[in-house]
């Protein structure tokens, strides 16, 4: 089972790849839109890459609830559990 930190680090790599955000800035308390400047289409790419990376399904309805990196990591942990 991946730890919270392992998931965060993998997610940070994806956000860096898609949106060019420095991976070190992708911390649990950061909001994707307000803090990291990830736009809506990039967010779709991040979600799809997460589904592939973590072997989970993230329904479109759920994406709007993933405001922060912590929200996304928590969702992935629950989905994997």
């Amino acid at each position: 089972m991946a730890t919270t930190e392992e998931i965060r680090a993998d997610l940070a790599e994806i956000v860096n790849e898609v949106a060019g955000v420095d991976a070190d800035d992708v911390q649990l308390d950061k909001a994707f839109v307000e803090d990291l400047d990830v736009d809506s289409l990039s967010m779709v790419e991040v979600v799809v890459a997460c589904e592939e990376k973590f072997g989970v399904s993230i329904p479109d309805d759920e994406v709007k609830n993933l405001k922060t990196v912590g929200d996304a990591v928590a969702f992935i942990e629950r989905a994997q559990g």
């Binding site: 898609v18 949106a19 060019g20 289409l41 779709v44 790419e45 799809v48 589904e51 592939e52």
Partner: protein, 412 residues
């Protein structure tokens, strides 16, 4: 309203001969070829394994995250437009962006993005199709991306007429400025179709050369051993500007755009009219619009792609339109070096035509060992000096669908 005079104040390219105008022109004058063996894995099973890829990958210039949101056609256009913008001295100019426009053509559009996403759809399902696929693959994406880059708000147009597209972009920009709809337009064309599907399609229609020899010798316009074109890629962008606007800001002027002629063959969807009648009418229209006599023309950058029929037809056109003066015109095909950039061809070749007038030097046609006896043209095998004084030149482009566009440029 009287028509405004239109001039060229900036040039930019990324081509098989170089990552910018200076390196491309230098290679052209030296008669170097940009045609190479393809190193892509997919090339192994292709009937044609050569092409003229750009000399400098755009991802070496465009920042990674920006580049991944741009189809290769847009990447080329952004690189070429950025060079043209700087070359024209527009970086620090105080411009009314409502009067700054873009007219960047493409023959095929974002075919690599389309097909890569189809691969993802087929192999991994609809969820894996990029949300950016449509804004990346649409044919007007290069024009739109250049418009975004410089804040150009007069227009962002994309003429599509296969291999005549680049010239049609310049022709459209000429009209826009001439009739006062814009002061400056970044005009040209881009293409990035070196992908197995378009290559297989062109090969199957017998359009591509299957010559197995040294790649550098395969594109051989007007030579008796020519057997088809070599696919190239890249973009060319020219800054067209009203003469009054250019003079007011003290810009360097390379040449004047005197006129353009656009016609359609209405003959066949792919084959050119064997007598070149549609092309002849385009040349005559360009001359009439430019108020030129045949004797004013000293140079032609021909479309001549190295196909058996098309090269002969263009020779006939030049004689039909220029009469006995045709023998005194230096006619070249830079495709002998660059391959055929499809929708980018007219733009890159307009840059070559403008520079030929500016430097009074025609680039050579390489690989012309035995001139086809059905072609009677003065074709330089090495760079040739052009006459001084007030002279003019033509750039011809013809495309599938029977599209013909000739553009007339004048020296300054």
């Amino acid at each position: 309203m009287p028509a405004k005079r239109v001039v060229i104040t900036g040039l930019g390219t990324t081509s098989p001969l170089g990552g910018d105008v200076a390196s491309t022109w230098e290679a052209m004058i030296k008669g170097q070829s940009g045609v190479r063996h393809l190193t892509d894995d997919w090339a192994e099973e292709m009937p044609v394994k050569i092409a003229a890829r750009v000399a400098v990958e755009p991802t070496e210039i465009i920042e990674r995250v920006k580049a991944r949101r741009l189809d290769r056609t847009s990447q080329f256009a952004v690189v070429a437009a950025t060079e043209a913008w700087r070359d024209a001295g527009l970086e620090d100019a105080d411009l009314d962006k409502d009067r700054l426009g873009v007219a960047i053509a493409s023959g095929i559009g974002g075919v690599t993005t389309l097909l890569d996403n189809y691969d993802a759809l087929r192999d991994k399902g609809p969820r894996r199709v990029s949300p950016l696929a449509v804004p990346m693959l649409m044919p007007n994406a290069p024009a739109a991306n250049v418009s975004l880059l410089f804040g150009a708000r007069a227009a962002a147009n994309t003429p599509v007429s296969a291999c005549a597209s680049g010239n049609e972009g310049i022709s459209l920009a000429l009209d826009q400025i001439r009739w006062g709809r814009a002061d400056i337009i970044l005009a040209g064309g881009t293409e990035a179709a070196i992908h197995p599907l378009p290559m297989a399609a062109f090969a199957n229609m017998m359009a591509l050369s299957k010559n197995p020899g040294d790649p550098a010798t395969v594109s051989r316009p007007w030579d008796t051993a020519r057997d088809g074109f070599v696919l190239g890629e890249g973009a060319g962008v020219l800054v067209l500007e009203s003469e009054e606007h250019a003079k007011a800001r003290g810009a360097r002027i390379y040449a004047e755009v005197l006129g353009a002629g656009i016609t359609a063959d209405a003959h066949d969807i792919a084959q050119p009219d064997p007598a070149g009648r549609g092309g002849s009418r385009a040349i005559l229209r360009a001359l009439a619009e430019a108020e030129l006599d045949p004797k004013d023309i000293v140079h032609i950058n021909a479309h001549a792609t190295s196909t058996p029929q098309g090269d002969i037809a263009e020779g006939l056109m030049i004689h039909a339109t220029l009469g006995s003066h045709a023998d005194s015109v230096v006619v070249t095909s830079t495709k002998s070096m660059t391959g055929h950039l499809l929708g980018g061809a007219g733009a890159l070749e307009s840059i070559a035509t403008v520079l030929a007038l500016y430097h009074r030097l025609s680039p050579p046609t390489i690989n012309l060992d035995n001139l086809d006896p059905q072609v009677e043209l003065d074709i330089p095998r090495e760079a040739r000096e052009l006459p001084g004084g007030q002279v003019a030149a033509l750039n011809n482009s013809f495309g599938f669908g029977g599209a013909n566009v000739a553009v007339a440029f004048g020296s300054v």
